[in-house]
Amino acid sequence: MGIRSFVTTELSLTEFPELGRTDLRNLKKGIDEAFKGFTRNYGEGIEDLFIPLLRFLVWFEKLMLATPWPLMIVILCALVYAGARNWVLVVGTATVLLVAGYLGMWEDMMKTLSIISVSTLICIVFGIPFGIMMSKSNRTQAIVTPILDIMQTVPSFVYLIPIVMLLGIGRVPGLMAVCIYAIPPVVRLTNLGIRLVDKDVLEAADAFGASSRQKLFTVQIPLALPTIFAGINQTIMMALAMVVVAALIGVQGLGGEVLKAVNNQYLALGLFNGIAILSIAIVFDRVSQQFGKRLQKHSEVIHG
C-alpha cells in the first residue's frame, strides 16, 4: 500500500528525523561565533563595569583576613548573639571557628564567609525591591516568575559558560553565579509575604488615609517580614550550596579545597572542608531562623 511505502522510505519511526549534520554544526557554530563576537566587542566594557564590585570583594576579603583571629571570633560570636539571643549557638559558633582554624582552614573559611556575606547582601539589596515590585502588579509577577524558575532550574554549569566567556574566571563571575542561583527565594517570598498581608488591615490603612508608600512601610513590609526572613534564610542556604560550583571558576575558599580533594581523591581534605561548609550552613540557618522568630514575638501570645 501507499502508506506503508511512505513510512518505510520517507519517515522512519525508529530514527528521529534530525536536522542534517552540517546544518546542525553550522547552527551551533553560528551561535558560538555570535556570542564570541559580542564578547570581543563588549566584554572589556562589561568587565570594567564590575571593577568596583571586584574591588569591594577583594577589600572585604582582605579585611576579614587582616583582622586578628581572636577579634574575628569575638565579632562573629557577637553577631550570632545579636541575631539569635541564644548562648548555645554562640558557643557552637566559637567551637566551629576554633576547630576549623586548628585544622588549618581559617583562611579558607574567612574567604568563604566573605563571598557568602557579600552575595547574600547583594541578593537582599536587589531581591527585596524586586519582590515588592512583583507584589504590586500581577503583570510583573507573570513576567518575573518564569525568569526565577529558569534561574533555579537551569543547571548552573550552563550559565557558567557565557559568564566565563564574558568575564573570565575569578571572584566576580563566581559571585554572579552564586547570586543567580540564590536570589530567587528572597524575591519569591517577599512577593508572597506582601501578597498574604491581611486584607482587613490594609483596608484599615486605606480608611485612615495611608498613601501607598505609608502602607508599604507601616503595614505590608512589617507584616511580611517573617516571610521575607524565611526567604533570606533560603537564599543563604542556596548561596552556600554554590560555593563548590563557584570554585570551578576560580572562587577561593572551602569550596576550592573540596574541588582539589575531588580531583586528587584526598578523602580527609574533602571531609574536613565539607564539614566546615556544613557547620557554617547550620550556624547561618539557626541564626536567621531565630531572628525571624523574634520578629513574630507580637503574635506569640494569643488570647484564648
Partner: protein, 342 residues
C-alpha cells in the same frame, strides 16, 4: 456648630467589569437576578438616597447581603460608586482627586471595623496613634492624644500590650480609640460590635452613647441587629437587596413598618424601650395626676413610674415643667404589647 451632615444622592453600585454599561437598564427597572443572569454583573446598591443628620447617629440596618457594608464604604470611598453623589460640607466625595480623598480620609473620617483590623505588630498605643502618624503629627503629641483616648475607652495599663494579648472586646476598644484619636467629624462603624458577645456589646453601646453625648460626631453605624439599631440610632435606614426600604426614627419604623418584611422584623422588639410617651399621651386637663414624667420618656419608664407610685395616671411635662398631656397605665400597657395584626 458646623454642618457635618452627609448627603447620599442617587447612589448606584454595580459590581463587575463594566458596571456603567448596565446602569440605564437598572434604572429602568432591571432586577438584581436578571442583571446577574443576563450580564454577569452584581447589583450592589440601588438608588440610595439618605440624608445623614449632622452630629447624630445614623444607623443602616440590613441582613447579610443587603449591601450595608458596601454602603458605608462609599462614604470614605473605599468603594467607588457606579453613579451617584456623597456630599459632605459641599464637596462630592466621589469626585475628589486621589490627594484630596487621602486628606479627606485622614482628617474628616475615622472608621471602626467588624474584625477590628488592628495592626498586630504594633502595641495598643501605637495602634491608637496610627491615624495621627499618617497625618504626620509630631510623635509626642500623637502619643499623648492616643493615651487620652485609650484611657477614655477604659484601657489604661494596656498601652504597651500587643492586640493579640487582648480579648475581642478590648481589641474593639482599641479600634474605637484609634478612630476617636483621629478627631474626625465622621465616625464610620462597620458592624463594630457584631463580633462581640452580648454583654460586652451592651457595654460598648452604652459607652458609644455616652461618648456621643459630648462629642457630637456624625456617626454612621452599620448593624444587622434591630435592637442595636433602635438603641443607638437617632435615625435608621433599612436596606434590603441593595435598596432602602424604609427610613425614619426607630419609633416611626416600629409603629408604621413599611412592608411585611419590616413588620416581621419589628414584631419581636421590646416596644416599651422604643416608643416615647409623647406618641400615646392625651392632651389632658391640668392637674389630674399626682405624678409626672418628662416629655420624650420611654414607655418602660412610664410603666415603672406608674406601678411604683401605685397611680393609674401621670402628667407629661416639658423641659420647663409645664404639663402638656397625660398618659394612663392602660394606654401605656396597650402600646407596649405587640398589636395582634402584626
Amino acid at each position: 456648630m458646623a454642618d457635618n451632615s452627609i448627603d447620599v444622592k442617587g447612589l448606584y453600585k454595580i459590581f463587575g467589569s463594566n458596571g456603567k454599561k448596565y446602569i440605564e437598564a437598572v434604572q429602568n427597572g432591571m432586577s438584581k437576578d436578571e442583571l446577574n443572569a443576563k450580564h454577569g454583573h452584581v447589583l450592589g446598591l440601588k438608588n440610595i438616597n439618605i440624608t445623614m443628620p449632622s452630629a447624630k447617629i445614623q444607623v443602616i440596618m440590613g441582613l447579610s447581603g443587603s449591601g450595608k457594608s458596601t454602603m458605608i464604604r462609599h462614604i470614605n470611598r473605599l468603594i467607588a460608586p457606579t453613579v451617584g453623589e456623597v456630599m459632605f460640607q459641599g464637596v462630592d466625595v466621589c469626585k475628589m482627586s486621589e490627594t484630596d480623598l487621602r486628606e479627606f480620609r485622614r482628617h474628616k473620617t475615622a472608621m471602626v471595623f467588624q474584625k477590628f483590623a488592628l495592626l498586630p505588630h504594633r502595641t495598643v498605643v501605637k495602634n491608637a496613634l496610627y491615624g495621627l502618624e499618617l497625618q504626620g503629627i509630631d510623635k509626642k503629641e500623637a502619643e499623648e492624644r492616643a493615651r487620652h483616648w485609650l484611657q477614655r475607652v477604659g484601657l489604661d495599663g494596656f498601652e504597651d500590650r500587643y492586640p493579640n494579648e487582648l480579648s475581642g472586646g478590648m481589641q474593639q476598644r482599641v479600634g474605637l480609640a484609634r478612630a476617636l484619636t483621629n478627631d474626625a467629624d465622621i465616625l464610620l462603624m462597620d458592624e463594630a460590635f457584631s463580633a462581640l458577645d452580648p454583654l460586652i456589646r451592651t457595654d460598648m453601646q452604652a459607652m458609644l452613647l455616652e461618648l456621643q453625648e459630648e462629642l457630637h460626631k456624625t456617626v454612621v453605624f452599620i448593624t444587622h441587629d434591630l435592637d442595636e439599631a433602635l438603641r443607638l440610632g437617632d435615625r435608621i435606614a433599612i436596606l434590603r437587596d441593595g435598596a432602602v426600604i424604609q427610613q425614619g426614627t426607630g419609633q416611626e419604623i416600629v409603629l408604621n413598618p413599611a412592608d411585611a418584611y419590616i413588620a416581621d422584623f419589628v414584631k419581636e422588639v421590646n416596644r416599651g424601650r422604643v416608643i416615647r410617651v409623647d406618641t400615646i399621651m392625651e392632651t389632658a386637663e391640668n392637674g389630674t395626676a399626682t405624678v409626672s414624667i418628662p416629655s420624650g420618656s420611654r414607655l418602660e419608664n412610664v410603666a415603672k413610674l406608674l406601678s411604683d407610685s401605685g397611680e393609674t395616671l401621670a402628667n407629661v411635662v416639658d423641659d420647663k415643667g409645664i404639663t402638656i398631656g397625660a398618659v394612663s397605665m392602660r394606654s401605656t400597657i396597650e402600646a407596649m404589647v405587640t398589636p395582634a395584626k402584626h
